[in-house]
Symmetry: C2
Subunit: 609 residues, 2 copies
């Protein structure tokens, strides 16, 4: 490690593919110590496998340097398909426009690619079997055992009062436990209401079907073979994106690569390079060659740099060339503000905060200066053809997202969303993988409406939101504000959250800001995964809770999203090493520990039996 | 200031009462600079009034020291009512058990006390008039203008598609703006669904009616005249509580008073003293005499100290004496785990994390050891009589709250909640003000169910929750985890959130942890207030958003929940003082600023007209 990243806890393991035995899906496995009971007996605790975004950087047995870049994992997978060829520039591109090398096109043809099997294994977190009894994919509702269905129906309208249960014949702690378990583990009513149906087990075929339906995407440019496949869709784990990028004011190339490594160490699933300063091309090259996660960009930033920052000089031709340049370099997805139409711009004049999207305001100014429709909209088909040639996914931007609570859910925001839906359909027709970007600053009670409208108007394409931030008054804490909105919208099906750092609205994030933001968004996304009923998500919570209850401090730290932080905070109160084996915790001291008292209660209860 | 608290931004003002002209309600008023437009014209910005919990400590013209304590604000209000007398101990108590000096009893008799007018003015944030046109208290739905009602009906089912609106005759930005405003400002459908109906303007009579209905409480012991009245109820601003208190392991008395001052500086509405170590009585005395906010305790902690930590020695008599001691001292509300019944305890043995409430585990152990029912339950009427004598409010504890996602919404948790409802009714009968405590560790999709069941089973008594924490895997970040759950439950009517610090589960919070936690919970509570439609809440967001859009950096900092943090983060990127007047922000630099571009778009739009 050339800089101050802590070592990852646990060991890197790989799970092999079955359809494609050559694939090896990386995970992290966290070993746990045995439970030790007061009577001296012990119990083994299974290791916990967690999702790992750090790629070869997180595998101590791989020797990588920033100068040489990462191994070209997917190179042979791409070559063997025989549908790409080298262009003059050396970049790969489709042999024929009729057979784009996109994961969407393969899915529509019924093909299960190595990428699809890779993400299926990854989403299962290494589980080999379905372990839930009855919670299954909802199209197959009738296969559920009858008893479970009856309970689900009952629970759907809320459990009866505890006193009513107590009055039932045969009532006992054991019988109640079973009901409570079913209640928790099978949130049927909930899934029905939100339209988020996570399957009990992810198969490569399920991945393929979701891709074909447009409900998910795997952003992997054929020119970014270093990328490990990951999937974005509401029936999968919620993903998070971290933004990096220098601006005219600060930052250098090596720092950007280190920001990337830092972001993926803490768990960023994709990274957007939003550089706007000098050396955009070279910075991006370093980032791509060192990134195991998909890289997104906003190509109009570079196009504008080529025009010396003069919006009036911007043109379709400059933009097109920039898009091709980035596609050939390996960018996995691009944000295009193509749904911001000329007639919507006057509506922003009455807003509290006008246009707050950089890309959006560039396009708006261009349209005002030229009196013409947005060239991204008028050239959409040509753009889609370019994207399909390299399997670059498109993230249709929300240039008119609200920049304040006052502007939330207003006409220009919703008008643009409707056009995003129109563009989604035509991009799909050309085989392009699509997601839609969303707000922004939105009060809590408007968040579900944003998700519903996006699903409805954009035909269930994955939603990718920035925040949302449910209040404007907490600069310095906007990672938290955004995580509140993010958890809520992710729970309802938002597929990826773009992180907001605590420096948002104030300055550029440093290393600690990136760590804080990534971990904060991971916890928000994870909370949503639990609520979505992701079958493997709760294993980690259960393991951590058990470790906490049994005072296995080291296990508790190791299972945390940020083990170093957890250990550091513990040690501030009780620094001596004996305290990590103490059978009480540091808040209450030995006489007042609730967990300790509770264990004593449990023992007394056992003795009574 | 004897320690490192920053100065509050803005100036302390007081708003005088009308029914009770002697009352002066403290607020903070933040002056704003003028807007400066590119054509050289300016526009005045009204100052913004914000809620202020800091009491005399926040008024530079009041000279207070920790040794002398605070002025006895309410002494004359209490004396003039003539229903209390001095006991031998010197403490005030009811003259007659038939006429308890509780705010609930006054409300039931139709009296508007100075305390009630005080909180009405406070909740209005100094607004003198109703400024919403049509959003009114929902019982008066028929008084709404017809046009507004029609729009509300339309919006209740979601706005039509933008393209449908565009097709309507007379469609223009201005006509759309009006619809969007109504959409935003009058979340009728939302309020109907959640049962949270915040009035457009708070009158003392509204406060009285909410108190009489048991939907709110003003925790003010007659022996804590230093306390400034505040109200806890779902139709008011959401409140937050900060816990302080030493344990056997660390902390001293003066530090505890400083923790109190720090918590109220950042915005804690009440403070619980959870001390368990030596000097409990003396620590509490210092805290009470220096606290302008209500102080809560868990009396069983001190009762157990009196028994040298031996649960078996605990008895109703020791507890009763402790309760009277604390009531005479001036404690404003007490947590009593009276709803944790003997028959529920065996259900916790099968849990992942047993009992995690300190008070709950003490009572459970006592019941196991003695084979008897909870003495707090069996002596409930006697307890309520004591509480009513001093106007101590009761916070009925949730000793069986889940300590992990795995245990959420299980039988023992819900069984205790049902008994909380039973105890609420009998406490109300004796004139006692009541709230109910709630969880805990709860996944996102179970949170609304917790709120619904509490409202239903506990007869709309205010709910006061710890978190809830929607995942277990983020120790070190649990203030954020808790704020996510807190915002969601507060939006649905939870009246007060107990903060969780980032040290939760790991150690004791220090000064920075308290600051971080209070501000985090303030932002969560404020996000909920916006969603609840609190009429004054959004004024601050709007003012901050406007300042941000106009690059009035100092105003943006000053309107923040944590002005020092916002300024510090800004200065890390752009330290020179000129940058605070710069017409661009520090993330994008001068050429790429979206706000700047957007202002240019607005100007071009104006020129065109």
């Amino acid at each position: 490690m050339s800089f101050d990243l802590p070592e990852a806890v646990g060991k890197r393991i790989y799970v092999q593919g079955k359809i494609h035995p050559k694939i090896r899906v990386p995970m992290r496995e966290i070993e746990l110590s045995d439970s030790l009971f007061p009577d001296g007996s012990t119990e083994k605790n299974e290791p916990v496998r967690v999702y790992d975004c750090s790629g070869p950087w997180g595998d101590p047995s791989v020797n990588c340097t920033e100068e040489t870049g990462l191994p070209r994992l997917r190179e042979s997978w791409i070559e063997v398909r025989g549908d790409v060829q080298r262009a003059e520039s050396g970049a790969l591109r489709a042999v024929s426009a009729d057979a784009p090398p996109t994961q969407r096109a393969y899915a529509l043809r019924g093909v299960v690619t190595p990428e699809m099997e890779f993400v299926a294994i990854r989403e299962n977190l290494g589980r080999e079997e379905v372990f839930r009894e009855v919670y299954d994919r909802f199209p197959n509702e009738k296969t559920r055992p009858e008893e479970a269905q009856l309970l689900l129906d009952e629970l759907g309208t809320g459990m009866p009062r505890p006193s009513e249960l107590e009055a039932q014949p045969g009532f006992s702690p054991a019988s109640m436990q079973r009901r409570a378990d079913l209640h928790y583990r099978h949130p049927a009513d909930y899934a029905k209401r939100t339209g988020v149906h996570v399957p009990a087990y992810f198969t490569p075929e399920f991945v393929r079907d979701e891709l074909a339906a447009g409900r998910a995407l795997i952003p992997v440019n054929v020119n970014h073979p270093e990328a490990e496949p990951m999937i974005i869709g509401r029936h999968f784990l919620c993903k998070i994106n971290a933004n990096i990028g220098n601006s005219a004011i600060s930052s250098g190339i090596r720092q950007e690569v280190q920001k990337l490594r830092r972001a993926i160490h803490w768990g960023a699933d994709t990274v957007m390079d939003l550089s706007t300063g000098a050396d955009i091309h070279r910075t991006r090259e370093w980032i791509l060659r060192n990134s195991p996660v998909p890289i997104g960009t906003v190509p109009v930033y570079q196009a504008l740099e080529k025009c010396d920052g003069k919006v009036e000089s911007l043109s379709w031709e400059v933009f097109r060339d920039t898009l091709i340049e980035q596609a050939e370099q390996g960018v996995d997805y691009v944000t295009l503000h193509a749904a911001l139409l000329q007639r919507f711009v006057p509506f922003t004049a009455g807003r509290a905060t006008g246009i707050v999207s950089r890309g959006g305001s560039i396009m708006a100014k261009w349209m005002m200066l030229h009196g013409s429709e947005n060239f991204l909209y008028t050239h959409w088909d040509e753009i889609c053809t370019i994207l399909a040639t390299y399997d670059v996914a498109v993230s249709i931007g929300d240039g008119l997202r609200p920049g304040s609570i006052a502007d939330a859910n207003d006409f220009p925001q919703l008008a643009e969303l409707e056009v995003q839906g129109e563009l989604t359909l035509s991009a799909w027709k050309r085989g392009v993988q699509v997601m839609n970007e969303g707000p922004g600053h939105v009060p809590l009670h408007f968040i579900p409406e944003n998700m519903r409208k996006q699903l409805l108007w954009c035909h269930e394409a994955p939603f990718y939101t920035l925040g949302p931030l449910p209040t404007d008054i907490a600069p310095g804490y906007d990672h938290i504000t955004g995580a509140i909105g993010g958890a809520i919208i992710a729970q309802r099906g938002c597929a990826m959250l773009c992180y907001v750092t605590r420096k948002e609205h104030l300055g550029l994030p440093d290393a600690e800001d990136v760590r804080e933001a990534v971990v904060t968004y991971k916890l928000a996304a994870h909370a949503a995964d639990l609520a979505k009923g992701h079958p493997a998500a709760q294993l980690r919570d259960n393991a951590l809770a058990k470790a906490r209850f049994e005072f296995r401090w080291e296990d508790q730290f190791n299972l945390s999203l940020d083990p170093q932080r957890a250990r550091e905070y513990h040690d501030q109160t009780l620094p001596h090493s004996g305290a990590k084996k103490a059978h009480f915790c540091s808040m209450c001291g030995p006489n007042f520990c609730a967990m300790k008292l509770s264990q004593e209660v449990r023992e007394m209860n056992n003795e009574k039996k």
